[in-house]
Amino acid sequence: MTRLETPRNARRGPSGSFGAFMSRRSSLMPTFTALAILLLLLGGAHAYFGNFVTPSNLSALLLDNAYLLILAVGVTLVILTGGIDLSVGSVMAFTGILCAKLLSDGVPPIIVVPVMIAGGALIGLLLGVLVQYFDVQPFIATLAGLFLARGLAFVVSQSSMRVEDPAILWLQSERFRLGDWYITPTGIMALLVVAIGVFVTQWTRFGRTIYAIGGSEQSARLMGLNVARTKVLVYLISGVCGGLAGLTLTAYSGAGYPLNGVGTELDTIAAVVIGGTLLTGGTGYVMGSMIGVLVFGTIKSVISFMGAEQSWTRIIIGTLLLLFIVVQRVIVARSERGH
């Protein structure tokens, strides 16, 4: 417990001086940069278009990116342990088309949803076991996962399948309103996943073990932390997130499509990195990944507002990603010099 207390005290102590605060929590810097960029983007877009920052637009931002947000939480955990997960986009496609197929076969949603999540979890478990027990590099193991899930999606169905089940569509169509603000059940689901992610990483033994493994796996093991279980679990959780994202996306698009989410793994990793998580592991925040996803979503909607080609999204995201990794390099270099 003492281990958990120290950072909080440290955070409260120097609250008078922003400089001292930043020097102690230098890992927060990239996340703050992301937040600043998000505000800058929103402010700039509002000034340019005049009607960008409206409740309905911001609500739509969450709605449109709910699946990405869910994926980003799972990927953040994996990256925090120093691994990487390339399989999330395919797992999302696989579970999504599985959902559509089972529903069209007349299976009730109460069974379909657990089956989807179990499907994602199973792939995640396989990848975790490959990484932990067979010493396969995360990159290669999850690459196999990418191929596997994508192929399985096509095994389930080779064409797009409509979803007509009212319970699944309700997840998307229902709007809880507060003035002009609204939120759909999928949005609530995404926020819930983020909340759980924040809680788990910051306030549980499991979460602190994730950070410890990312910092130094060897040390974590010598400290007696359960490295093996934690590493398998993060991949499993990422798989579960893939399943949930599949549900969200299927509800969002009203159909399952085996080619859904090609390249989503890159978008997710980009969002996580933009949110301030270091790919070397050990540093980063689930909250930061949420900011990263919002930055991503804002850029996408700014580009569609401008009526410009969507190919610019990728170019701008690539440029932002570059900016962030250079910032992170500088921070890491500075903190190393400090020690």
């Binding site: 027990y133 590099q137 196999a144 596997l148 192929g151 096509f154 080779q158 080609e309 690539g318 570059l322």
Partner: protein, 373 residues
């Protein structure tokens, strides 16, 4: 016999031969090559021809992986290169003149060189992790290619350009000569000069090699430039094959296939020792596998399942846990008949080197960010 079994290319070769044997058993025409109009036809020739883009990309990837890096941007570079070449040919008044095509190809390779230089700059000068540094271009590259083609799939009619992937010289496809030429050049430069040894030194231990006076920055940078140029060439072959620049489909997933080919060929992702012959065998294995899957009537979209299975089997065969289990299993049988002492030492030595290789790959990975700086 023992020397042959111990050769590090033995498993990749066995896998390829097994694959060919399965193919020959299921379709007797697989090995037959016929001559029509002075050109060779047959499944084997198709495999040689279709494997050319992957061969070029995988060669570059081998060099990059040998320096402990990875290049995810190869597919995007292919897309950009194809887009540049076809846009130039499309805009020219004389698409059929060899000069136009030469200019287009030169421009495409030049752009690819620039992109490779950019990757190398990020990795070797700024010290950014290779996965992320090349991810930038992987994300942005296709966007750039789409901008070049204006969002359309540019199609052209140009006989000299078409010749690149579809032409024949002395019976063999021209693309085959391109890949043989590339393999020969890379093999000569890496194996007949000290460059290959220096590359391995950088990959095995960047810090030690720098202390020993190896200019690691230039070597790493060069690997990415080579990878960029080879990908550019692959992009030209790809677009020449379909005579269209499709920014979204060109080289899609090829980075994954290339990495797979390199790993199949026995080059570890942790860098260091690399095998060009292994990569060649890896590429041919993958292409044969693709051809087999297509022949078996599996719909192409489902084929990733087979790829994934192949990857999982290969990585499991390489993992020390499976090695140990297999040794224990073999030991169980040997212990009854033969004198155990000799076997124990042999087994022990094998395990030790294996464990050594594993830990070598495990620990220094993390400090490569520090060292590269």
């Amino acid at each position: 016999m023992k020397d042959i079994l111990k050769h590090r290319l033995i498993w990749p070769v066995v896998a390829l031969i097994a694959l060919i044997a399965i193919n020959t058993a299921t379709r007797p025409t697989f090995l037959s090559v016929t001559v029509r109009d002075g050109q060779l036809y047959g499944s084997l020739i198709d495999i040689l021809r279709n494997s050319a883009p992957l061969m070029l990309v995988a060669l570059g990837m081998t060099l990059v992986i040998a320096t402990r890096g990875i290049d995810l941007s190869v597919g995007a570079i292919m897309a950009v290169s194809g887009a540049v070449a076809l846009t130039i040919i499309d805009a020219s008044a004389t698409p059929n003149s060899p000069a136009t095509v030469a200019v287009a190809i030169a421009a495409a390779i030049l752009v690819s060189l620039v992109l490779g230089t950019w990757n190398g700059f990020l990795v070797s000068v700024l010290g950014i992790q290779p996965i992320i540094a090349t991810l930038v271009l992987m994300l942005a590259g296709r966007g750039i290619a789409l901008l070049i083609t204006g969002g359309f799939i540019t199609t052209v009619n140009s006989d000299p350009y078409k010749f690149m992937a579809q032409g024949y010289i002395a019976g063999f496809p021209f693309a085959f000569y391109v890949s043989v030429f590339a393999v020969a050049v890379v093999a000569l430069v890496e194996r007949r000069t000290a460059l290959g040894m220096l590359t391995e030194a950088v990959g095995i231990n960047p810090k030690a090699s720098r202390l020993a006076g190896v200019r690691s920055r230039g070597i790493i940078w060069g690997a990415y430039i080579a990878s960029g140029a080879l990908s550019g060439m692959a992009g030209i072959l790809y677009s020449s094959n379909i005579m269209a620049a499709d920014a979204n489909a060109s080289g899609l997933f090829i980075e994954l296939y290339a990495i797979l080919a390199v790993v199949l060929g026995g080059t570890a992702l942790t860098g260091g020792k690399f095998s060009i012959a292994g990569t060649v065998i890896g590429v041919l294995t993958i292409q044969t596998l693709i051809s087999t899957i297509t022949f078996l009537g599996v719909p192409p979209p489902v084929s990733p399942v087979f790829m994934a299975t192949a990857v999982i089997i290969v990585v499991l065969l390489q993992s020390s846990r499976v090695h140990n289990a297999a040794r224990a299993f073999v030991g169980l049988f040997r212990a009854r008949g033969e004198p155990p002492a000799r076997n124990d030492t042999a087994n022990g030595a094998g395990t030790a080197t294996d464990a050594g290789a594993q830990s070598l790959g495990d620990t220094p990975e993390r400090d490569d960010t520090k060292v590269a700086r």
